[in-house]
């Protein structure tokens, strides 16, 4: 099962490698890891999506909590979560099928952000499974390059992960 773990950490050099090292060392598999600063510039938020059973998630949480630079750890239940991911996807196109691809992008609420005579670059920010769907739809046109940010997430409603 996929678990989304939100981690508030000190915004310091070395913290990212520290945390990613912990995952590899203890044999935890990460699907994605996204980092950015929070409203407090001294604090970064890491959103980690990991695949594993409850034992593994408990171990991840505890080992993360043990790290001095980790301020707060919270595994958020999936139905309590707003999850988003950003993807840039460059796809081959010809004068003939450019309209088709533009239609697909439009239906998926994606944006064309760049164009050349034989490619289109599309941007989408949505739930990860919607990104997968767009990728699937564009595959027949020959995908040149994909770049995804990894999932970021916040809890629904007024609750926050307090520092």
């Amino acid at each position: 099962m996929k678990h989304t773990i939100s981690v508030l950490v000190e915004n310091r050099a070395g913290v990212l490698s520290h945390i990613s090292g912990l995952f590899s060392r203890r044999g935890f598999n990460i699907d994605s890891l996204a980092v950015g600063v929070t409203e407090d510039k001294m604090i970064s938020r890491m959103t980690i999506v990991a695949d594993g059973d409850d034992y593994m998630v408990e171990q991840i949480e505890k080992q993360l909590n043990k790290m001095i630079d980790v301020i707060k750890v919270r595994t958020v239940p999936n139905d309590d979560l707003i999850r988003r991911e950003l993807m840039l996807i460059k796809v081959s196109c010809t004068a003939k099928n450019r309209g088709e691809i533009t239609d697909v992008a439009k239906i998926m609420n994606a944006k064309i952000v760049d164009i050349s005579k034989d490619t289109l670059t599309i941007e989408i920010a949505d739930r990860p499974n919607r990104l997968d769907l767009l990728e699937e739809l564009l595959r027949p046109y020959r995908i040149q390059e994909v770049s995804r940010t990894g999932t970021i997430a916040l809890q629904r409603g007024s609750s926050v992960i307090a520092r």
């Binding site: 950490v9 000190e10 050099a13 070395g14 490698s17 520290h18 090292g21 060392r25 034992y55 408990e58 171990q59 505890k62 080992q63 909590n65 043990k66 790290m67 001095i68 630079d69 980790v70 301020i71 520092r163």
Partner: protein, 549 residues
């Protein structure tokens, strides 16, 4: 005032009286100031031994020991000692020099990314880039190393930071505030009540005492709880000494290297109270089977240990001494001791050391004689290999301590650790017991013992081979002995003499008593070479043979 001078002043503020280290170019500014301070410096002969010595100093005093190394190879030589301290939750602060800040990342001469390399063996680390941060960093390092679950902390200081002139007057912060770190010391009252209920409801409770007993300073509380409630205590190797050897409630050591009584009692128990132990694979070999028949209470200061190796029915996070006091305050009931007394099994090997061999010393009897000859508060340091198992199973521990590298199993631990322990506890007797393999990993420290006249009594158990590996090869690899022959080793007594250390060679059981007596009668360090038959194994005397790995 330079960064280096601030570093030394900070150490003085922390009450550091002794540091173990080895200088080099990038730590020279610090050493320049250290020489002018009140801190005594012990120059070891290899950095790893500075780490072991400082670690043992920390284990004996409860305060972080301090070791120092230069950048590059000096720092990487510390790694094994850091890992050893980390596995055994030892309070330790390591200070390393580093190349100048502007050279970082350019593979400069003697540059090593030590904070990166050591990350998995450290409780925490700092790479100081601004000299103004030094007082805060050093304060935090000592606080982190010496509180909660103890552990090693590394401070890496580039040479230019050591040379920076600081603005303003020196001020050492009194308060520490680290938002990501606040260990839980008091047990949750609700959980305390659940534990007491479980204890009262149990018929055959057993306490499993681990290294946390010493980390927390809970020796008295464990004894009080055991005696008041009639609960027997099985020790992990790190927990040996939680109760004195021979105490009627002491079951001896449990686990794959342990004794029959402890293992059988744990198997039959209906409540196992794990007190400051990881319940690692050597101590609890089959957690799955245990959990089915036994309720488990797991007391640990580190929440991450709970449910890592053993499924705990009742987890209890806190400092062991405080938690046991809380439990005692609830007045748990006394239990009948009949069930484990009726098992009729020995606590250790002393009932039968095995045969006496012509021309050799019996290692089990040797351990018992060394330890029983020492004063009651003596410190016995065991190395790793067969000697560790013989030592753990036969060492007589009263008010003293049994030190060894339990988690990491680091060969070459005993002499530097004994040195650190002896310097931490002047006036107490200290023995270092090692094999001829491990001895040759640390024999350079004979010079340090002489230089500083540290009265460590070394006993080298000599069987001419890497005994434990040989034993594994004999039992599990069809007797194909591969790379275990130690031919070429020197005469250790002559070697000691070359250092100006007195020595004696022992080849018979009759001579042991007098030789041990003589070793402790000598004022300074002393080396006794004890010739043991290569046929001597660690599995015998009714102990169950468990799978060797």
């Amino acid at each position: 005032m330079t960064g280096a001078s601030v570093m030394v002043q900070c150490l003085e503020q922390e009450g550091v009286s002794i540091a173990f280290g080895y200088p080099g170019a990038t730590i020279c500014p610090f050493y320049d100031e250290l020489a002018k301070s009140s801190i005594r410096h012990i120059l070891v002969r290899q950095e790893q031994n500075a780490g072991h010595a400082a670690g043992a100093w920390g284990r004996m005093t409860g305060k972080p020991g301090v070791c120092i190394a230069t950048s590059g190879p000096g720092a990487t030589n510390l790694l094994t000692a850091l890992a050893t301290a980390y596995m055994d939750s030892v309070p330790l602060v390591a200070i390393t020099g580093q190349v100048s800040s502007e050279l970082l990342g350019r593979d400069a001469f003697q540059e090593a990314d030590i904070t990166g390399a050591a990350v998995s063996f450290l409780k925490h680390s700092f790479l100081v880039k601004d000299a103004e941060d030094l007082p805060r960093v050093i304060r935090e390092a000592f606080y982190i190393a010496g509180t909660g679950r103890r552990g090693p902390v590394l401070i890496d200081v580039p040479i230019d930071v050591q040379n920076t002139r600081l603005k303003g007057r020196f001020h050492y912060p009194e308060e520490v505030s680290i938002r990501g770190y606040s260990p839980t010391l008091r047990g949750n009252p609700l959980q305390i009540r659940r534990v007491v209920e479980a204890m009262d409801g149990a018929q055959r409770p057993v306490i499993c005492a681990g290294g946390g007993v010493f980390g927390s300073g809970a020796r008295q509380e464990v004894r009080l709880l055991a005696e008041r409630c009639g609960i027997p205590v099985a020790c992990t190797m790190m927990g040996l000494g939680a109760l004195p050897t021979g105490h009627p409630l002491n079951l001896g050591m449990l686990g794959s290297q342990g004794g029959a009584l402890a293992n059988e009692a744990v198997r039959r128990s209906d409540l196992l109270i794990i007190a400051g132990a990881r319940a690692g694979d050597r101590a609890v070999t089959q957690p799955g089977i245990l959990e089915k028949s036994t309720r488990v209470v797991h007391i640990d200061i580190d929440p991450a240990e709970i449910r890592k190796n053993v499924e705990a029915g009742i987890p209890l996070v806190g400092d062991l001494a405080q938690v046991l006091e809380q439990i005692l305050a609830q007045g748990p009931r006394a239990h009948d001791r009949g069930w484990f007394e009726a098992l009729g099994l020995p606590q250790d090997d002393s009932a039968g050391y095995g045969e006496s061999r012509e021309g050799f010393v019996n290692p089990r009897r040797l351990v018992r004689l060394i330890s029983s000859h020492m004063e009651p508060d003596g410190i016995y340091v065991a190395d790793v290999g067969q000697n560790q198992i013989w030592s753990a199973r036969n060492c007589l521990i009263r008010e003293g301590r049994f030190l060894t590298s339990g988690g990491m199993g680091t060969m070459g631990y005993s002499i530097p650790a004994a040195m650190g322990a002896a310097l931490a506890c002047p006036g107490r007797q200290v023995a270092a017991v090692c094999g001829d393999g491990a001895f040759q990993m640390q024999m350079m420290e004979l010079a340090t013992l002489v230089q500083h006249q540290v009265p460590v009594k070394i006993f080298v158990v000599r069987n001419g081979s890497l005994g434990l590996v040989r034993e594994i090869q004999s039992t599990c690899y069809g007797g194909n002995l591969s790379a275990v022959d130690l031919s070429g080793s020197p005469d250790f007594v002559a070697l000691a003499a070359a250092y100006g250390i007195g020595g004696a060679r022992l080849c018979s059981d009759e001579a042991v008593s007098a030789a041990v007596e003589r070793a402790f009668a000598e004022p300074g360090p002393f080396l006794t070479e004890c010739v043991v038959s290569p046929e001597e194994g660690t599995v015998q005397c009714g102990a169950e043979k468990e799978e060797q790995r």
